[in-house]
């Protein structure tokens, strides 16, 4: 029987679809397992790079990617990375998120033992290009304003953008984005203050 007549048979269609789907899945499985270690390594390096960004140079000598503790925050687990020098805890790093103007803004922050921010970086956002994206360090150094701030300094009611009588600048044409970042960082500091015991407990590995 030639291919032409076979091709129009009813049984041929599902068989062909099945074979194609099977081959595609097999190809994906092979590629996925072949690339998984390299992808994991690359992502770990990315994470290490961004963690190192918010941490002042030379503050830590441990592999803080391995020294982590998972803390429950309002039903969500937050991974806290702990930076040590000579075994002594120096700072903790964790991610916070807040809803911005168009979607979630992910913020990575480092907090020292006294509850002062050491560094804040926006990891991921979908804010309006040219307006809200000034929260990125490569667009504007606004995010550095958080350095050295703590829950008591400025006073809690001053933890807001200037439009809301706070101390942080907003951007021309974008108030919601910086407001969300300020709220995220303040929430992060409050989280650290409330859970300091759990966060600093244990020696880690």
């Amino acid at each position: 029987m030639s291919l032409d007549t076979l091709r129009d048979k009813l049984g041929y269609q599902p068989l062909l679809l099945g074979v194609v789907a099977l081959l595609a899945s097999a190809a994906l499985a092979v590629v996925s397992s072949a690339t998984a270690p390299a992808i994991a390594a690359a992502e770990a390096k990315d994470l290490r790079d961004s963690l190192s960004d918010v941490l002042p140079a030379g503050l830590a000598d441990n592999d803080f990617l391995k020294d982590t503790v998972d803390i429950d925050r309002d039903g969500k687990m937050v991974t806290v990375y702990r930076a040590r020098r000579g075994g002594e805890l120096q700072a903790v790093l964790f991610k916070v998120a807040e809803r911005g103007y168009s979607g979630e803004i992910q913020v990575l922050m480092a907090v020292d033992m006294d509850g002062r921010t050491l560094g804040v970086r926006v990891l991921k956002h979908t804010e309006t290009p040219g307006l809200g994206d000034k929260v990125e360090l490569r667009k504007d150094d606004w995010v550095l304003d958080f350095n050295g701030k703590s829950l008591g300094d400025p006073a809690p009611e001053k933890w807001a953008v200037k439009k809301d009588n706070g101390v942080f600048d907003q951007f021309a044409g974008a108030t919601i984005t910086p407001r969300a970042v300020v709220k995220a960082v303040k929430g992060g500091l409050a989280f650290y203050a409330a859970r300091k015991q759990d966060i600093t407990a244990g020696s880690g590995s």
């Binding site: 291919l3 091709r7 129009d8 041929y12 194609v20 595609a24 590629v31 690339t35 690359a42 290009p129």
Partner: protein
């Protein structure tokens, strides 16, 4: 469309049947990524690679696939290809992936690829299909890059910003910054994309009309 003349294939891909300017396909990724010349170029190159491979594969299996199930078969094929490219780039060229990664997944929704499979590869030989994929891809890349450059120039006052991040430090010379120009934000936002595309479509039509008029003028005395 079953013309195997390579000259026609190239002319179709670059101008006559240009994916964006003539077929008006792939407008979703076009609007999304053409906020800068570099983004447009990157998306274009990645799409070209997928388009060539998908055209070749579709052409190879065109006799085995029956008409009734060809669309799902092609969709599975293209989605698989894109996922493989996505995984491979994430694993082995991670720096490039961080710049382009967002666009790779967008290639799946690029109807130009399914369009070429349907309109060309399924009716033509492997070599011609590969050439068609390449020509269409280059035409697409050119369109995206030009739209991207115009929007970037008007919107941010730069040209090929961050090109060295994507193509390597050797291409840093491409990056141009216009001093003391704040940029017109509108051009970076979606309306700017539609405006630029509209003006370019109008421009192409004017050129085509001029060419046609000249062709008629040249043909008239010859037939007389």
């Amino acid at each position: 469309m079953s013309d195997n003349n390579y000259g026609t294939i190239v002319k179709d891909g670059l101008w006559e049947q240009n994916v964006v300017f003539a077929q008006m396909l792939a407008l979703c990724p076009t609007m999304a990524v053409t906020t800068s010349g570099t983004n447009g170029l990157g998306m274009g190159l990645a799409s070209t690679a997928v388009l060539v491979v998908s055209n070749i594969l579709v052409s190879i299996i065109r006799k085995t696939v029956s008409d009734q199930v060809r669309i799902p078969v092609f969709v599975v094929l293209i989605a698989t290809l894109v996922t493989i490219v996505d995984l491979a780039m994430n694993a082995w060229v991670h720096e490039l992936y961080k710049v382009l990664g967002l666009f790779i997944a967008l290639i799946v929704v690029n109807c130009a690829i399914l369009g070429r499979a349907e309109a060309y590869a399924v009716k033509n030989g492997v070599l011609a299909s590969a050439a068609d994929g390449l020509a269409m891809g280059i035409g697409f890349t050119g369109a995206l890059t030009v739209i991207g450059l115009v929007r970037e120039f008007l919107g941010s006052g730069t040209l090929f910003a961050q090109a060295s991040q994507m193509l390597g430090p050797a291409f840093a010379f491409l990056e141009v910054q216009i001093p003391d120009y704040g940029g017109a934000l509108l051009m970076i936002l979606p309306p700017g994309g539609f405006a630029v595309l509209g003006f370019m479509l109008a421009g192409k039509r004017i050129i085509d009309q001029k060419l046609a008029a000249r062709g008629e003028a040249a043909a008239a005395p010859a037939t007389a």
